[in-house]
Amino acid sequence: MAEPLLKISNLNAYYGEVQVLHDVSLEVYPGEIVAIVGANAAGKTTLLKSISGLVRWQGDIVYGGRSLRGLKPNQIVELGIIHVPEGRGLFPFLTVLENLEIGAYAPNARKAAKETLEKVFRIWPRLQERQNQLAGTLSGGEQQMCAIARGLMGLPKLLMLDEPSLGLAPLIIRDCYAAIEDINKRDGTPILLVEQNVKLAMQKADRVYVIENGRIVLQGKGAELMDDDRVRKAYMGI
């Protein structure tokens, strides 16, 4: 395979004095969909937050050949690492359109904002219909749509999604993942996603990492892990 786009080596992450991630190593290669699965409080969100520069970490995170050590969150966004946070994180009292505009904050994204907006509205016409509605009043499914769309406004070179399926009905989850696969196929944007639904993650992702108590305990191709007895027992209740 080619060089990884993102290479995390021996990552330890902390909240204050409390260590949450232990010796985590992970790669994302160009064009891949990589999923991180694990139980509640395993440290999945913390891993994404480390990459985004929101928590203190040791070890190394290299993106496109360059270490992210010491970079501030806004500098990381400017490199094209876009993080769609857990629970959507929309600005509830901004309209859908304003949320999307703010998604294109970084200088290069802002220059292209008009075209990107057209593209986003082509993918999700529903957002265009509701562009002047306050984001906080959207339905759960629409909010997730808006959150991913807002991520696209930032022109991601690596898109990170934290539990995109959380709290959505099965049909909406299907649409949501169809959109994610589309982004990945059409633009070739690599995707790093966190997913509680292990089965779903294994179906959709090229590779999967299983994280337990802040450590990676298993990794492999999605399809292969699905046949792994340990995984089936522990995560799929079979």
Partner: protein, 291 residues
């Protein structure tokens, strides 16, 4: 009666004017600034001494003092704003309260407790419209309060920076994930609020005496106006100013001037019971920034 209404409305504009800066700092940024009154006091003194030594009219010097205030907060005082933005509400209360006291005592030491005022050509000028009379200086403040609220309203609502400010206030962590340097946003908005407050201070000088503790009353009214109008709502500040201005004028006449504070506190409580987010506040936003 019409005299009372006009006085009340002009007073309301004045109250709105001294509250706009606080609305940016407290209403929008949710930084509790108990030194707001002292910001006004200091800018009044600045305008006073500029007038005293250089004979520069306060209406003119305001246009210098306000941008200067903005620059100072963007540079020298920047660490102070960052510290405030990163503190809890209680921490902000202590820090700003302390700063207020220091500023008061500095003023007392440097300028003594004397009441000082300027005597410009217009400060005693009165305008008569039929039976109604009012001072020119108050009319100027009133008109400028309209200009400032309108300009700021459109700025926050329509400009990209305005949207950035609102986004940052609604969710600071997510704002960072959008690529926003949130500290910069805090410093900029705080500096803007301080500059508008400084401008308001200059406008007050032809109307009020300045002395070291004058800030207290202004700050009290400004907090009431901002909360009454709705945190972060700029039209609300204007409305809140009018409510308090009119209440003060009317209750001063019909009840007793010494009771005016009691009356507007009652109205304040009544409105907040009926509309917890304030007159123009967006429902739900009152809980933003509660850390």
């Amino acid at each position: 009666m019409s005299q009372l209404l006009v006085s009340g409305i002009l007073l309301g504009g004045l109250y709105a004017m001294i509250s706009i800066g606080l609305n940016l700092i407290f209403g929008v940024l949710r930084i509790v600034n108990f030194a707001h009154g002292e910001f006004i006091m200091v800018s009044m003194y600045l305008a006073y001494w500029t007038y005293f030594y250089y004979k520069i009219d306060p209406y003119i010097s305001a246009f210098v003092i306000a941008p200067l205030t903005f620059l100072l907060f963007m540079t020298v005082f920047r660490p102070f704003v960052v510290k405030l933005a990163d503190s809890s509400h209680l921490g902000q209360v202590f820090i700003t309260f302390g700063i207020g006291i220091v500023l008061q005592n500095l003023a007392l030491m440097l300028f003594s407790a004397d009441y000082r005022s300027v005597d410009t050509a217009y400060s005693r000028m009165r305008i008569a419209l039929g039976e109604v009379q009012f001072s020119l200086a108050r009319l100027v403040v009133f008109l400028l309060s309209l200009v400032f609220t309108a300009a700021l309203y459109y700025y926050l609502k329509k400009s990209y920076m305005g949207k950035t400010i609102r986004a940052t206030m609604q969710n600071r962590t997510v704002a960072m994930l959008m690529g926003i340097d949130t500290r910069k946003v805090y410093v900029f908005t705080f500096a803007l609020g301080a500059a508008i407050t400084a401008f308001a201070g200059g406008l007050l000088l032809p109307i009020f005496y300045v002395y070291p503790t004058i800030g207290f009353n202004f700050a009290l009214i400004a907090f009431i106006v901002v909360i009454l109008g709705g945190l972060g709502s700029i039209p609300g500040t204007l409305a809140g100013g009018f409510v308090i201005g009119l209440t003060e004028a009317l209750s001063g006449y019909f009840i007793s001037a010494s009771m005016k504070q009691l009356v507007y506190f009652c109205i304040f409580i009544l409105i907040l019971v009926l509309r917890p987010a304030g007159l123009f506040g967006q429902r739900g936003t009152e809980e933003l920034g509660v850390k």
